[in-house]
Each structure stands twice: as structure tokens, then as C-alpha cells.
């Protein structure tokens, strides 16, 4: 199968030829030709201003009565006694979707020894119903048991949409849930909307963040998506009411083949990059490991975490747990300071979702400035100490 070309509409302008990442489109004098290299990625479809290109339809799969599915669900991630912030963000987004559809919003809370106030927190953040499953087998996360329980609940209650955080937990076990339910899943969404027909419009970055793609799951339910943390804003309203239910599930859901031997929380709190509200990152411009000290000093001053580019990690100046980018962590803090980082695309895709980006680099042509909110062309060894002095002065520490 290849991209479909409407020869009536095609003006042979050639724009699609340049856009195709797979060199699958060639221009002849009178038409365009699509070769077998076409992967149906869809890059060309949106760039064609004449509407001459389209993708063939996806398979309908075995028929399913879509109207039997109702309600929006959010998987509330419980870790170390707390609910992950992304779950509250998803509840506020889920609330909007549920209201547009005129359906209830439900949260699913799985764990063991759950604090009774957690379900009410979920209600205050928008849930109408909270399903709570509290079992010793859920004390530690495994894809199997967490997946089985969520699959069983979905089979029983049939929601039309399920949202989960694109955390290490969500990205790990939600694919199992989708596969068991034989439905589509879109990973790492940054934007959600709903069409009048009730199709969840799931927008996510692709090709390393170079393009955005909107994806739908037309023929299967529930429509499932994982959503990046810190993209949506949580909304809390005290006094909201809702109900809490504890469904009983078949025993076989709780049987695990995998045994959890040990859970070791990360000692180095500064490495909790994905959670941080402020991140100060250093790159090759620091020139040696010892110079990371000024990054650490600044990070401490602004109560932020320390990040790094792949270059700095590859040099061995800082452990890989600090790496931001495609092969490291994806972060989206309120403030991201890139210091001595050139801004290779592989770094940029890991931090471009940040609210305010400050770039400090000597090279005015450094690509990092393309994504910066504020750019400073300066020698970091002059600028960062001056900036630190400024903060200390203002706080009366100097």
C-alpha cells in the first residue's frame, strides 16, 4: 500500500518530493510517482495544498459496537504512597473531554495500603467516580498484575477513552492493556481533543519532535493514550462530590509470573529530572567535569535539578541519569536553562516543551537559540557567575 494520489488535483508542483523522509516520491514531467519505499507516514499528505494526497483507511477489524462504550477514564498512578502529578493533570483534561461528551469521568486507583484520602483528592481534581483496588499483590508494580486488573475493569465497565501518564510506569504497562483489549494506543501525546463523533484526536511529536502527528483510533474501543507529564494543567476544586467504589475482581488477575526482588528509590534526588520545575543543564561548553560545579551552584540557588546534554554525558562529566534528550529524559519544566549546549535536535526534542527556555552560548549561530525564549550570547564562564551574583545580591546574600 502507498499514499493515494488524486491525479485530477495534483499540479505536479513537487513540494511532496522534498517532504518525503524516505525519498519515495519522484517527479516526472506530467505526474508524481510513489515508489515502494513509501511507509505511509503521511508527511506528504498535510503539505499538499491541493489536497491531492491521502492515506488509505485503516482496517475496521472485527466489528465492535462502539456505542456500548461510555465514559472517560484516567489511570491514577500511585507510587511510593503518592499520586503522580500527571494523574491530576489528566483529570483536568479528562474533565473537559467528558463534559464535551456528556459522560462521567472516572479514575482508577491501584495499589496497596492506600491512604483513604487519595480517592477524595482524585474527586477534588475532577473525577465523578473512583474505582479503588487495594491488594497486597499491587504493593509493587508489575506490568502483568497492574495490566490484568486494568484490563478486567475496562472489560466490565467499558469506557470509551482511557488516559494514562507517559511515565516509566504508564509507558510500560499500558501497551499490555491495549494489546489484551485489542485496541489502538497512542504514546506520549501532548494535546488531546475530541471530534463531534466522539473520536479522540491524539496529537504527539514524531520523527524526534520534528513533526507533529494527530492520530485517531476509529474502529476500536477504548481509545487509549499516554500523555506527557506537565503538558496539561491540573485544576482542583474543593467541595466537589463523587463516589468511591471497590470492585471485586477474579483471583487470576493477581497471579504474577514475575517476582519483584527489590525496589530501590533513587538516592540522588537531583536526578529526578522529569519532576523538576526548574532545570539547569550543562553541555560540552563546560569543557571539563569540574566545571559542572557552577551548574550545580546555579541549580541549587534556583532550587532546580541538574541536567546535561549527551555530549557532556558521553565525556563522562556527569552520570547518564542527568541526560536530557532523545536518548535521555524528556522534560518540560517551567524554566529550562541550557548552558554551553549547542542544541542538537536530539537534545532539543527532550526539552522543547519547557515553558521558559534560557540559552547561554558563545556561538550566536548555535541552534539552541532557535528554541530559546531568552538568548544570551556570552562566555558562560563570565555570564553564569555574574548571573549568580545578581541573584545573591537581590536576595541580600551579598
Amino acid at each position: 500500500m502507498k499514499v493515494l494520489v488524486d491525479r485530477q488535483k495534483c499540479t505536479v508542483c513537487g513540494v511532496c518530493v522534498d517532504v518525503c523522509p524516505f525519498s519515495a516520491i519522484t517527479l516526472t514531467e506530467t505526474s508524481i510517482e510513489v515508489s515502494d519505499a513509501c511507509t505511509l507516514c503521511g508527511m506528504c499528505v498535510d503539505t499538499c495544498e491541493f489536497g491531492a494526497l491521502s492515506l488509505p483507511d485503516v482496517g475496521a477489524g472485527p466489528g465492535e459496537d462502539l456505542s456500548a462504550f461510555r465514559g472517560v477514564w484516567v489511570y491514577a498512578e500511585w507510587r511510593e504512597g503518592l499520586i503522580h502529578k500527571v494523574s491530576y493533570e489528566l483529570l483536568s483534561e479528562g474533565r473537559k473531554l467528558a463534559d464535551k461528551r456528556g459522560v462521567p469521568l472516572c479514575a482508577v486507583l491501584l495499589g496497596h495500603g492506600l491512604d483513604g484520602t487519595l480517592a477524595h483528592e482524585l474527586i477534588a481534581h475532577g473525577a465523578d467516580v473512583v474505582y479503588v483496588v487495594d491488594r497486597p499483590e499491587l504493593a509493587h508494580f508489575t506490568d502483568e498484575v497492574y495490566g490484568n486488573v486494568l484490563v478486567e475493569l475496562i472489560r466490565e465497565k467499558r469506557p470509551e477513552i482511557l488516559l494514562a501518564g507517559a511515565t516509566s510506569m504508564g509507558r510500560s504497562f499500558i501497551p499490555r492493556v491495549a494489546a489484551c483489549l485489542r485496541t489502538g494506543l497512542t504514546a506520549d501525546c501532548t494535546e488531546l481533543d475530541i471530534s463531534p463523533e466522539g473520536l479522540l484526536l491524539q496529537t504527539r511529536p514524531a520523527f524526534g519532535g520534528n513533526v507533529m502527528a494527530t492520530i485517531v483510533c476509529p474502529h476500536r474501543r477504548p481509545q487509549m493514550a499516554t500523555v506527557r507529564p506537565k503538558v496539561m494543567k491540573p485544576v482542583k476544586r474543593d467541595g466537589r462530590t463523587g463516589s468511591v467504589e471497590s470492585p471485586t475482581l477474579p483471583e487470576e488477575c493477581f497471579r504474577a509470573r514475575i517476582e519483584v526482588l527489590e525496589v530501590i528509590p533513587e538516592k540522588d534526588q537531583t536526578a529526578k529530572l522529569t519532576e523538576a520545575d526548574v532545570i539547569v543543564s550543562g553541555g560540552r561548553g563546560l569543557r571539563k567535569a569540574e566545571n559542572f560545579a557552577i551548574i550545580e551552584e546555579l541549580a541549587q540557588l534556583v532550587r532546580g535539578a541538574v541536567g546535561a546534554s549527551r555530549g557532556a554525558v558521553d565525556e563522562g562529566w556527569i552520570p547518564p541519569s542527568h541526560q536530557v534528550g532523545q536518548t535521555g529524559r524528556t522534560v518540560a519544566p517551567s524554566l529550562y536553562m541550557a548552558v554551553g549546549i549547542a542544541g542538537a535536535i536530539q537534545h532539543v526534542v527532550g526539552m522543547q516543551g519547557s515553558n521558559v527556555i534560557v540559552a547561554v552560548n558563545k556561538d550566536p549561530m548555535a541552534p539552541i537559540f532557535d528554541v530559546a525564549t531568552y538568548g544570551v550570547v556570552a562566555d558562560l564562564f563570565d555570564f553564569i557567575p555574574a548571573f549568580i551574583r545578581k541573584i545573591r545580591q537581590d536576595r541580600g546574600e551579598l
Binding site: 474502529h219 532523545q326 548571573f387
Partner: protein
């Protein structure tokens, strides 16, 4: 022990840029490469092979030219390769890809361990590993940083999560996705390079896998791309001028005014 490594040939996205004027993808100099994370999966397999009797087969689904990716991996010391290629596979989402890989793994038969990179850099979904394992009804562990055989039938897996590290005992057969901490991929050796060049690589299509055309490729996919567009460009970049002192002062004031935390 028979280990299968699933790999993917991807465009080298780190060299891909959007032309700021035309908003189109600048393709110049973008080559097809083996997904970087998959080299870590290959390395993890070879490490096990270094220490015990193991055979490693590398598997990929892709266009005919994905054969180059298989040869690249063979040159690192992998024993065999199989290419899954068929026009019917085009347009696969993660579900259809997993369906195809699972069918190939069933056909291989005696597989003890399946290794994958944590995700591919073109789609970044991290879904194909877990979905394939689920279809094969075997346990899986994601984001592994260390794989240690415990006995013939179990692995000790150390996995990295957002909160820290978890150690799991995983019975075989199982699927494991790995991160870069499993070890620096070894370079191709001359001997393996020669072998890789000559190796005959079987090609399996839908008929070989016993799959129906409607269960693979776009027809067998549940998700559909309806729109592709350039990410919105940040328009409000402000370059801060002046001496270093002035720059520090101005940046500090701007950040204060925009009420970012920490300042």
C-alpha cells in the same frame, strides 16, 4: 539458549531539521540507520552469548533495504538474521507491527529470550516490545539496565524507573527492552564483517508467516494518522544584549517578571 533481537531501520532523525521558511523537513544528508537503542539490545544479547551457550537471531520488519540493517548487526557477531518484508506490511502501527513480529517469533519456535531497544527514535512509542510479549503471552520487563542469568530458566533484571531502580526475577521465555546502561555496543570485527557480507538472509512475507493481509500493515492497524504538521515555532525569542553584567541584570529581571519559580 536462543535469543532473538528485534531491530528497526529508521531515518537518522538527529540530522533532520525543519526548514524555518518553508516548514518542510530538510532531508539532505539524512540516512537510514539502525535504531540506536537496538544496538544496546544486540550488545545485551552478545554479552549473554559471551558467557554461555547461546544463539542470537536478529529480526526486523521493513522494506527490502532493511537488509542492510541486518548485515550491520550481523557484523557485530550475531549468528543469524531474518527479514520480514512484504508490501502488505506497509503502514503498520504498533499493533500490526507486533502482530507480524509475534508471528515470526512463533515460526522461529524455540525462542527463550527476546530483546528490544527501549523505543525507536522515529516513533518513540516504546510499545512494540510490550505488545509483542503480550501477544505471545510471555512476561516482559521494560527499561532494563542490567540482565543477569540466574539459572537456566530465570533472569535477574534490573530496570530503571522514574523513581529509581527495581530488581525483578523473570521466568523464561520472556521479552526485555533495554536502555543504554546495559553496555557500550561492541564494534564490528573483521571476521564478522566478512561473514555478514556473505550471509544469506531469509525473507519472510505474509504467506510464510501464515498471516492474513487484513491483519497486517495499514489494514491490520487500529490507529490512523489524520494530520501531520510542523510543530509551532517559538516566535518570541528575545536576544539579550549588552555587557555580561547588563545581560545578567536583564535576564534576571525578565525571569522575575515572568514569575518563573526558583527566582
Amino acid at each position: 539458549m536462543h535469543i532473538v533481537v528485534c531491530i528497526k531501520q529508521v531515518p537518522d532523525t538527529k540530522n533532520v531539521r525543519i526548514d524555518p521558511d518553508t516548514h518542510t523537513l530538510v532531508r539532505q544528508g539524512v540516512e537510514s540507520i539502525v535504531n540506536p537503542f537496538d544496538f544496546f539490545a544486540v550488545e545485551a544479547a552478545l554479552k549473554i552469548k559471551d558467557e554461555r551457550d547461546a544463539r542470537v537471531t536478529v529480526l526486523t520488519m521493513g522494506p527490502p533495504q532493511a537488509e542492510e540493517a541486518l548485515r550491520e548487526v550481523l557484523s557485530r557477531g550475531v549468528d543469524d538474521a531474518v527479514l520480514l518484508s512484504d508490501r502488505a506490511f506497509a503502514g503498520s502501527d504498533t499493533w500490526a507491527t507486533s502482530t507480524t513480529l509475534a508471528a515470526a517469533i512463533r515460526k522461529l519456535g524455540d525462542v527463550d529470550l527476546i530483546l528490544c531497544g527501549k523505543q525507536a527514535i522515529d516513533g518513540d512509542t516504546a510499545q512494540v516490545g510490550p505488545e509483542t510479549a503480550t501477544m505471545l503471552n510471555i512476561p516482559y520487563a521494560t527499561f532494563a539496565k542490567k540482565i543477569e542469568p540466574m539459572d537456566d530458566r530465570h533472569l535477574k533484571i534490573t530496570r530503571q524507573t522514574d523513581e529509581g531502580v527495581e530488581v525483578w526475577k523473570v521466568p523464561l521465555p520472556a521479552l526485555v527492552t533495554v536502555i543504554k546502561e546495559v553496555g557500550e555496543p561492541r564494534m564490528p570485527s573483521l571476521r564478522h564483517k566478512m561473514r555478514a557480507k556473505k550471509a544469506s538472509i531469509p525473507l519472510w512475507g505474509i504467506q510464510d508467516l501464515g498471516l492474513a493481509p487484513e491483519s497486517v500493515g495499514l489494514a491490520g492497524s487500529y490507529t490512523q494518522v489524520v494530520r501531520v504538521f510542523s510543530p509551532p515555532r517559538r516566535g518570541n525569542r528575545l536576544m539579550i544584549q549588552g555587557s555580561v553584567e547588563e545581560q545578567a541584570e536583564r535576564l534576571y529581571r525578565l525571569l522575575k517578571e515572568s514569575k518563573v519559580p526558583g527566582l
